[in-house]
């Protein structure tokens, strides 16, 4: 049997990786659930954000967190431009999948052209900071990722739940023509949601750059598991992907701790099937 320390450390590891799944899934869930766009390019945007952060931090010597002040607004505009493209060409739900896959390939090629296919690692002082809690260790970069994931998911939930803006967005999602009849500017809200989703990709990019070694091809490595988190968490639900991501992350990590790690993906995807089958209809 694994020791309590091993289990505890594995659970922590699962929570932190799950937070990153949730962060990556947040923007995808919002654009899918609210704008009816399956935006695969969200992963490419996150990696583009990571590379730009790397560039600004490693070359221009800007603190990684300060780079957010540049990258997040820029991505907000990029997200709005993407939404304009979908509106301009009336891209349907299924076609958004195909179009954004194409955009992903273009962004990947662009990253490879500029930064090469080789691995890049953002050296940063934050990576060296860790704390000891009894027998367990906490790394600052992991805690930051969890903090961002919680803040953005709860913030988005609160805005949707308690503000007029959120109510208007939800109304538009439910029935756009009726919402418009009540004076809701559907187009403007679409641009805002798309811009926010892209900004979240920029934040996820920062967390990727802080915690991981970057290579263009890794864009695809995250798709399966984050899709699973979004499906499990529910479309258009800000907190859902984070909770689901943590469930997946912890289940994978505990599986790795108690059995052979090769079983980890099998356990998490089996969990996805079970949850999708048993989930009450109101959460779908």
């Amino acid at each position: 049997m694994p020791s309590a320390t091993l289990l505890g450390q594995s659970v922590l590891s699962g929570v932190f990786i799950g937070a990153l799944y949730g962060l990556l899934g947040l923007g995808l869930s919002l654009s899918w659930g609210m704008l009816r766009q399956v935006n695969l390019a969200h992963f490419a945007l996150a990696f583009l954000g990571a590379y730009v952060t790397f560039q600004l931090a490693a070359v221009a010597k800007i603190d990684p967190f300060v780079t957010l002040a540049i990258v997040a607004p820029a991505f907000f505009v990029l997200g709005m431009a993407l939404h304009w493209f979908f509106l301009r060409f009336s891209v349907t739900l299924l076609n958004t999948l195909l179009v954004t896959f194409g955009i992903t390939s273009i962004i990947e090629a662009g990253i490879q052209w500029y930064w090469t296919a080789d691995f890049h690692r953002m050296e940063n002082a934050y990576a060296a900071v860790r704390w000891k809690l009894g027998p367990l260790f906490l790394a600052l970069t992991d805690v930051i990722t969890l903090g961002f994931a919680l803040a953005l998911a709860l913030g988005a939930w609160a805005v949707l739940r308690f503000t007029d803006l959120g109510k208007a967005i939800r109304a538009t999602t439910e029935d756009a023509p009726i919402a418009a009849a009540f004076g809701v500017n559907e187009k403007l809200l679409g641009f805002l949601v798309s811009g926010f989703a892209a900004s979240v990709a920029a934040v996820a990019g920062l967390c990727l750059a802080l915690n991981h070694t970057l290579a263009p091809v890794q864009i695809y490595a995250w798709m399966g598991v984050v899709f699973a988190a979004v499906m499990m968490g529910g479309l258009g639900r800000p907190i859902g992907p984070l909770v689901a991501g943590i469930v997946i992350g912890v289940s994978e990590a505990v599986t790795m701790a108690v059995t052979n790690p090769t079983w980890a993906p099998l356990v998490s995807f089996s969990l996805l099937i079970v949850i999708l089958l048993l989930r009450p209809a109101r959460f779908s």
């Binding site: 694994p2 020791s3 320390t5 091993l6 450390q9 594995s10 922590l12 590891s13 699962g14 932190f16 990786i17 090629a109 490879q112 930064w115 090469t116 296919a117 080789d118 691995f119 890049h120 690692r121 050296e123 860790r130 000891k132 260790f137 790394a139 992991d142 991981h212 070694t213 290579a215 263009p216 091809v217 490595a221 995250w222 598991v225 992350g249 994978e252 990590a253 505990v254 599986t255 790795m256 701790a257 052979n260 790690p261 090769t262 980890a264 993906p265």
Partner: protein, 400 residues
Amino acid sequence: MKIDRRRALAAGGALLSAMALPGVLRAQGKPIRIGSTLPLTGPLASLAIIHKVTAEICVENLNKRGGLLGRPVEWVLRDDQSKPELTRTLYEQLITADTVDLIQSPYATASILAAMGVAQRYNKVLLHTSFGIPKLAKYDMQFQTAGSPFDPENVWPNHIFDAAAKLPKPPKTIAIVTSKFPSVHAISVGAREVMKKRGLTEVLHLEYEFGNRDYGAIASRVKEANPDFLWGGTNGIDPVLMLEAMKKIDYRPPAQAHLFPAPGPMLKLPEAQGALALTTFESHAPFTDDPVIAQFVKTYGERAQQAGIPYTSVDLQSAIMYASWQVLESAVTATKSLDDKTIGAWLKKNEVKTLFGTLRWNGPQNYVEGADLYKVKQLQQGKWVVVHPTQWAAPGAKLT
């Protein structure tokens, strides 16, 4: 015969041109076209760029020396996108549509296996650089240029454990953590057998899927097993991710080996210092004693920097590609032929001196059983140096 001033100047000019540009003048006629694919995009692209830069230098040097059989050499390169099925199609095209004279190696086991099938169908010699499971190489005219043995699952673990036995504190207990990437997995399976024969104790054996994202739990399990030595059946970026996960829980294995790590990212990681890995070549003496090789190392460094490759030293990857072109040049020059059967027959009976040792193909399936040209390198003070066997060790380098 009276030589006037104009004729004398013309003759002098021609002579000077011949001295300045010997290759251009000597390599004449229709180019010899040599076709191959590399994974310029996709998961293997980070390694393919090394092979591309190396091969471009080789072809350039070859043409400077007068080409092959007095004809210039043209390298026809296609991007196989890291997809074996595309590799197969592209080699078909290279042979049938591009009508290349000879073919060269793609990269990695699956793509080489795909190209091998095509080579067999058209009776072409296939030189290959990076085939990880030799027993699958059944084609009679395939020849490895990586210095691999027929039985890497036996030979390579012995290299690593021979080197580990020379560490200041020779290990007794081993944790084996391996990716399921086919070639490194096969070698790690072999390592378990080799360990038993050497009387070493296995305290942990873990396998994980290639492309794993989270090494936290794996790191915790290694820490708990507390081995003397970590055997990483790893390649690419995996060892870096694993060591970073270990760093987060304040753990560092007392000693470690990783089969084929991406060399650059490991250099920057303090936790990786002292790690062992396999190689054929490193950019130091005695490898660079040959001035031609020293020049190649210098040129590669410059070109790699221009190409944006972070690690600019010649090592395993660039060396196996360079050796492949050395073998091709030797075989064509010796046989004075571009006929695949003639070249294949010559390779079976002869040997070729390469930058990392002498290649032979006189064993089972054109390999040599029980012996190879691989060495063990160690990361010391931010630099990879060969430490075992001693005749290839960097001057003054000792296992630490």
